[in-house]
């Protein structure tokens, strides 16, 4: 009961902050509001009993992102340029994306239901991983065999991010040599 009402209160505050972020014109104020958003989000995650996610949200969203945004503000400008194109098309894209996400949500199993796939399959990994995969370490067998494609996707993302950072650093150094 208390949990539900706290969740609703925080969700309302999140909605207000989101509208504020969209409406505010000064980019510096937007950065501050984004930090507030992250702290509220982390609190919401804790109320929903996802402490590890809350920790990540607070560290990345409120901590590092604020510093990165400030660095970006220093390199660019603190005032938002007036929009060049109309605002109709971005609105349509955002609405379609939101609709697709809500539609996808309807396919999720019910919260706390015992019929979730996670409770029906995979609970016996300890017993069958050795005969299935032949890997003695169960964690490794889950990561590299049962969820192999998942891990491949994650590795691709990290690899892409690493290449992006390398390219950026390389360009910076070349520019300095040229000047």
């Amino acid at each position: 009961m208390i949990e539900t009402s706290v969740t609703i209160v925080i969700l309302l505050m999140l909605g207000a902050v989101t509208i504020g972020i969209v409406r505010v014109r000064g980019l510096f104020a937007a950065v501050v509001l984004l930090g507030i958003y992250s702290f509220l989000m982390a609190t919401l995650f804790i109320v929903l009993d996802a402490v590890d996610v809350a920790m990540t949200e607070a560290a990345v969203g409120a901590g590092v992102s604020t510093v990165f945004f400030l660095g970006a503000l220093y390199l660019t400008d603190t005032v938002e340029a007036p929009p060049v194109h109309g605002q109709f098309m971005p609105l349509v894209v955002a609405l379609v994306t939101a609709g697709a996400l809500v539609w996808g949500l309807s396919d999720l199993p019910e919260f706390g239901s015992p019929n979730q796939p996670i409770h029906q399959q995979g609970a016996d990994y300890l017993a069958r991983s050795m005969t299935d995969t032949g890997i003695p370490n169960v964690v490794t067998s889950v990561l590299a065999s049962y969820r192999g494609f998942d891990t491949l996707g994650e590795t691709t993302v990290v690899f892409t991010a690493g290449i992006g950072v390398l390219v950026l650093l390389r360009r910076r150094r070349n520019g300095k040599e040229g000047s």
């Binding site: 510096f28 104020a29 930090g35 507030i36 409120a62 400030l70």
Partner: protein, 92 residues
């Protein structure tokens, strides 16, 4: 009792949020952001005691450190106009 305190803190956060959204100057927003960070820590602690898991207090400490780093970076940005890279470059 703890539930009442929890809702009081939430109400305080909502009031501070109004200042963050309407605040005429950036410093209003900044102070509001810091206060909301503190409110989040309080909610974390109170909710931990409410659900009989006071271990959440450790997380609160980490939140306080993060809040400090964020505000410190923002204030440094204000004072120097940058994150301090230029000042270090001048020294070397």
């Amino acid at each position: 009792m703890i539930a009442a305190a929890l809702f009081a803190v939430l109400a305080a956060m909502a009031l501070v949020l109004v200042r963050a959204l309407r605040g005429p100057t950036t410093f209003d927003r900044l102070l509001a952001a810091n206060s909301i960070g503190n409110g989040a820590i309080l909610v974390l602690a109170l909710f931990g005691f409410l659900t009989d898991r006071p271990e959440f207090l450790d997380l609160g400490l980490t939140y306080a450190l993060l809040n400090y780093v964020g505000i410190f970076a923002v204030l440094k940005f204000f004072r120097l106009g940058s994150l301090g890279a230029e000042a270090e470059a001048d020294k070397s």
